[in-house]
Structure formats: structure tokens, C-alpha cells
Symmetry: C2
Subunit: 424 residues, 2 copies
Amino acid sequence: MRQSQLFTKTRKEIPSEETAKNAQLLLRAGFIHKEIAGVYGFLPLGLKVLNNIVQVIREEMNAIDGQEISMTALQDKAVWDKTDRWDDKNVDIWFKTKLKNDSALGLSFTHEEPITNMMTQFVRSYRDLPKFVYQFQTKFRNETRAKSGIMRTREFLMKDLYSFCHTQKEQDIYYDRVKNSYIKIFRRLGLGEKTYVTFASGGTFSKYSHEFQTVCEAGEDEIYVHDEKNIAINKEVMNPEVLKDLGIDEKDLHMEKASEVGNIFSLGTRFSDAMGLSYTDEFGEKKPVWMGSYGIGPARVMGVLAETLSDDRGMIWPHEIAPFALHLVSLGKEGSDAHKKAEEIYEELRKHKVDILFDDREVGAGEKFADSDLIGIPMRAVVSEKSLLAGGVEIKERKSDKDEIIPIEQLIKMYTNCCDDCNH
Amino acid sequence: MRQSQLFTKTRKEIPSEETAKNAQLLLRAGFIHKEIAGVYGFLPLGLKVLNNIVQVIREEMNAIDGQEISMTALQDKAVWDKTDRWDDKNVDIWFKTKLKNDSALGLSFTHEEPITNMMTQFVRSYRDLPKFVYQFQTKFRNETRAKSGIMRTREFLMKDLYSFCHTQKEQDIYYDRVKNSYIKIFRRLGLGEKTYVTFASGGTFSKYSHEFQTVCEAGEDEIYVHDEKNIAINKEVMNPEVLKDLGIDEKDLHMEKASEVGNIFSLGTRFSDAMGLSYTDEFGEKKPVWMGSYGIGPARVMGVLAETLSDDRGMIWPHEIAPFALHLVSLGKEGSDAHKKAEEIYEELRKHKVDILFDDREVGAGEKFADSDLIGIPMRAVVSEKSLLAGGVEIKERKSDKDEIIPIEQLIKMYTNCCDDCNH
């Protein structure tokens, strides 16, 4: 799109009330809007990044047989009474509201209860299992403090996947599939190298759960990383027994601050027992359903990316989730050869459906470069009288300091390597 | 996808508490899930339809220069106090909640206030206008009654577009662009013939607003339709003055029940005045911003489609928003020639990324046909020993009673008319 049309603008000043680097950067770059403390909206550039993160997760959820649904935020007290998680004494992050007839409603902070309750309508026999159901849905959590930018908010999109299996063994196998899927997801999201499968506290049905922790100064957790094994242990469960279970020597660990970008959890039969979710097996016997739940917060991922993949000048988005594939910058005044060439390149790439941001604004080169670095599109192509004289456009990767002149045709080819006869 | 894997099932019994036809049909077909009265979730088939509706609207919003964002549900009292719309005496559909420090929060029922407030950060000069911003976002409305299925709910997705213009004239021109865009949208959504641009009450800044009303027995509105002019008048504003304004003779009108699927509204400077949204013109003079707001409820559209494009046997989805392009039904037992052929067709079409539902279940033909009619995919292709003997597959449009045998190659070609060398 044309940057002159974009309604957001970059800002020079850092909002004083924001102490988190991710919020500072993303507000300055015009990616997010702060509605209330801990409550952020997403502006065009930010929404594109968020949707790209969502799409990566969706593809990987579908690849492990997930079926996508969308549940509701408004929740019925009766459903949550069954697990005793309605009472504010047991869950202290509810937002509650009520109908006109004074019936109490809650705003979902998670969905184990309603989805287990719903599945009782669809699961009868062993033929109906296993099933894997996920959603991208807005959760509400009444956090006391809100100081981490979009890494911990009171209203946020969450991907939550739930598994429904015949047996503990089947559940364990699916749990491992999700673990591998998450490793792939965080790699695709550009966080692979900094993200560790981290042992954390389990529950009645399994000794450990696994968190996906990304090493990050702004993180709220502390983890002990084992470089060679490429795993970590959450400080909360760090003790001699865990070290023994994992065959790890304490001296091989180093402590890091980290942010939990995902988690996977075996629920056993806790929720299916409470909600009456069971099935009849091949021999006519009634059996409980084994469950797991698996979360990723796309907006938190975006916050962690802003914390870890950025420099003094701004964001450095990974290719797959960048708001645009290319930042085309014209330094020519309107009517000049350089500007005309830039317009031609823009139209040619648009024809090929390449998603580019075209800085066609009438502002100085310095402002254009500063904005380009702040917004952080992986590749920048500058068209100026100088670049044309030198033989084309000046391209530069955001993560590198090296620029290079390439012919215009080569730039077009870089982004349109489809067959020539094809309309795509 | 394989129907044997789909976690939802069709139901024969009509849920007794549901009086609305759309909810009965969509619950029976497994498209939606009722969480609370007036609060519905979307299951895999229903979410696909909803997303298809959203995508049609998104494409048309982008075509009229809309920029997509996503605002928050949680709302700050202070912002709404400025227009006096916080008080329950003035707006009686708020859901209210509060932070732990007892600060009051509301759940957005619309977004004029917060978006106008936000735009004060981005609009300074005449160069910053006009701008058009939209979102698909969940609204909450504390409705007293909930009897219309998904046509009127307490939590629902809404597309809301807001325009920000220099002058009333510029605003009027954009208003007409949106009107034409909406006409195109409802045509694409399969509601074109039954949907009328309907004159409704305006406000301080314009005599009329326009509703898009779809003729529908279950609708809550009454409109007077003028067939020849292809417009309608909402009963609420029907009087001699309106007839005179529109040059219409009362005898040419007939009354119909209808459901409001969209509306467009000139807001004038009501919200910009209250929020202090202004710009400096070419001569350094401060001017108010002229606004409009434009809504479509994708889930209500889905409900109206279920009410109007259905028969005794089930849904009849229009092509562009159907959950799948083709319902492939195998009548062969596992291992039979018919089943093997059906599997081959499924894999071939999948390879070409055709989105099909494949009924590979081990159930009787009667159940398969009944489910296929209920789910309502526009085209069905049956593979059986009989069809193979007759020369291929039996295809039948959902909306027609005529079936026909065509060679398998022809079916494949119908859904894959891409160039042979292309990988798409």
C-alpha cells in the first residue's frame, strides 16, 4: 500500500507511561493503540503482523489434525461451578458481568470448561475419538498490574487447542505431536533459536508440563537453560529430583530471564470427569475421555519479537510475519524520473500481488529512512536519481548494514519468481 | 476434509428451546453451538461460512480504501462520558465490569467514541484526511430477549467502518461509495434480490440514513417496498413527507417483514466535536472532521441466509460463502471399486487445493443424502457402483432436483480449470 495513504504515523517521542520496550517500539511505529492500561488495539501494520502469526499457527494446527472453531467470551456460571473455578476465591482473574435479569456472566479467561461441556454433545462412542479442536479467541484476564506492554494484557487473542483421546497413552502420543508442532511454529515465527522446551509443574495426571520459554530480558519467568540438550527447567520446579529425572548436572545450567510464549498441558480426566464427558468402548463399557490443552498467545509472541528482534532504530521482523515483503522508498520528487520509476516498480509488483509498502510521501530522505528502520520490513529498496545513475535500485536488508545496487528487473524477479504464463 | 474426521454431527431432533428457524437449522447441521441464550459459538462448518462472509466484506472494504484495524472490547468510562453514552439511562444495552481497583469498564457495543478518540492522535492537518478505517470485532449487547437465533445475539462479530472527511460534501460522496459497495456485498453474499436500500431515520446532520433490509419472515422490522424503484421505506419513517421526498405513490408500495443486514449513517460532527477531532486546513484554520459509520453483522447475514436460502431438507448455501465447494459422497463400502474411485477423486482434488467435504463414513446412503442436504453444499457428487456403471459420478446441485452422470475427468476439470503446467 501507499504510505501516503496509511492513516497511522510514526512518532518520535516515547510515550512516558509505557515502560515496556515492546509497547514503546510498537506505539512509536504505529502498530498498536493503547485503549486502557493493559488493553491494546491493533492498527493496520500491527494487525498484519498479528494475522501473519495467526496464519503460521493455523497451518501447523491443521497439520496436526486440529479443527478450528470459535467459542464465546460470555460464560455461564453453571458450567464453571462444576469444576469450582467460578468462585473468585479460586480464580482471581475473572471479569464478571450480568444479564438484565441479574444472572451472573463471566468473560472467558480460558475454555476448558465450556469446550468439554460442548463435546458431551458430540462424543458418544469410541468411534468419535480422538478429536482435536482449536480456536483463536479473545480471552479476558483481570490482571492487577499491566506493565509488560502487549506481553501481558487484560484482553488478548489466544490460540487454544484441546485434545480428546481414548486413553492416557493416546493422549501422551498427541502431546508429543503438539510439542513438535510448537517447536516448528516458534522456528517459523523467528524465535526458534531463543525458545526452549522448558520443564514446568504438571498436575495430578502428569509429573511435568512443558512451557515454551523465549529468552528475553523483559520476561517474567526465570529458567535454567541446558545448552547442549537444548532444553530448560522453570525455576519454580528446579530441584534435585528434576535434575535426576532429566539426567542433568546443575553446573551445566545457566539462568536466563524468559517469557512463556506457549504451553502444553496434560489434563488427564479432570475436566471430562467434572463435565461428564465419556465414551462407550468396543465392549460397551463406559470410559472417561483423556484430555490435553495447548496454548499460544499470538500478541505475546509479537511482543517478544519486538523485545528480541529489534535494535536502537526499530523493529526487525522475520520474513514470514513481516507486515510487508518489501519497503519500496522513492527519494524522487513528484514528476521526477526517480519517482516515475518507483511508481512503475510499485504497479508492476502490485500486479503480481506482491505485498509492498511504498513510501511515496513528500518528506525528506532522513525521515523516510528513519521510518523504514522503525517499521522494520525485512528488505528496503530505494529508488533515487543516484541509484538510477548507478544502474537500478539500492537494496538493503533491515538486519544488515550492507546495501547494494541491482537492476530494476532483478528486483522484480526477486519477488515474482512465478512462471511467466501464470496469472499468479 | 473427511467427514469421518469432522467432530460435529448432524442431529435429527430440533432443540426445543430454539424457536428461530436459523438456529434450528444451524444447530441441527452442526454449524453453531449455543453457549447461553443469545450467545453462540461457531463450529468448523459454521466458522468456514462466517469467514467466507467476512472475506467478501473485507475485499469490498479494501476496494473502497478501507484500512483494517482491530479495537478492543474493554472500554474506558472517561471516553464515553464525553458523548454522554456511558450512563445506563442513555444506553441500556451495556455490559459493565470493573478492574480490581474498582474502575468501571464497559464491553463495547459499538466503537464511534474510541475510534474518534484514537484518530485525534493521527489527524492534524488537511493532508491527513480523508481516511477510512474498519474492523471485524466482537460487540457485546445486553439484550433483554434472545429469540432470533444468530440474527440478534448478545455477543457477535460486526464489521464497522468509519469515515473521516474534510467536509460534508466529501463525506456525502464517500457515503454513496459505501452504499454502492454494500449493494455489491449483498449481491455477492447471495442476498441481492431480497435486499433493499431502505430509507430510515437520519439524525441532526442528515434527513435519512439507509438500512439494508432483507425481506425475511423472521425479520424484526417492517418495510414498504417499491418494486420498480427497487428501494424501500422503513415503517418507522413512513409518512407523507417521505413519500413526497422520494416521489413515490403509496399505492405502489407493499409491506414486508425484513431483517436489517447493514446500515450506513452520516454522523456529521457529533463525535468529532465531542472528542476534539479537528484538522487545520490549507489556510491555517481549525475545522471539525466530518464522519460516517457503516455496519454489517456477518453472523446476522449468516442467520438471514439460513432463514431465506433453505428448504425443508436444510441449507442451500450460495457458492461464494458455502463451507465447501463440493460434497463428494462415496456409497461404496471400504475396499469396493466405488470407494477406491471416490478416494482417488478426493486425493486428486485435494492436490489441486479444491476445498471439498468427502463423505467417507460407513453409514447408509439415506443418512448420507439427508446430511448432505442439511449441510447444503452447492454441489454434490456421488460415487457408487451404479454411477460407475453409468459412466462416472452422479452430480446434483443442491438447489435443483435434477441429477446427471458425468465422467470423472469432467468433474475434476470443473474444479481445477487452472493451466496444466501450473502448480496451483
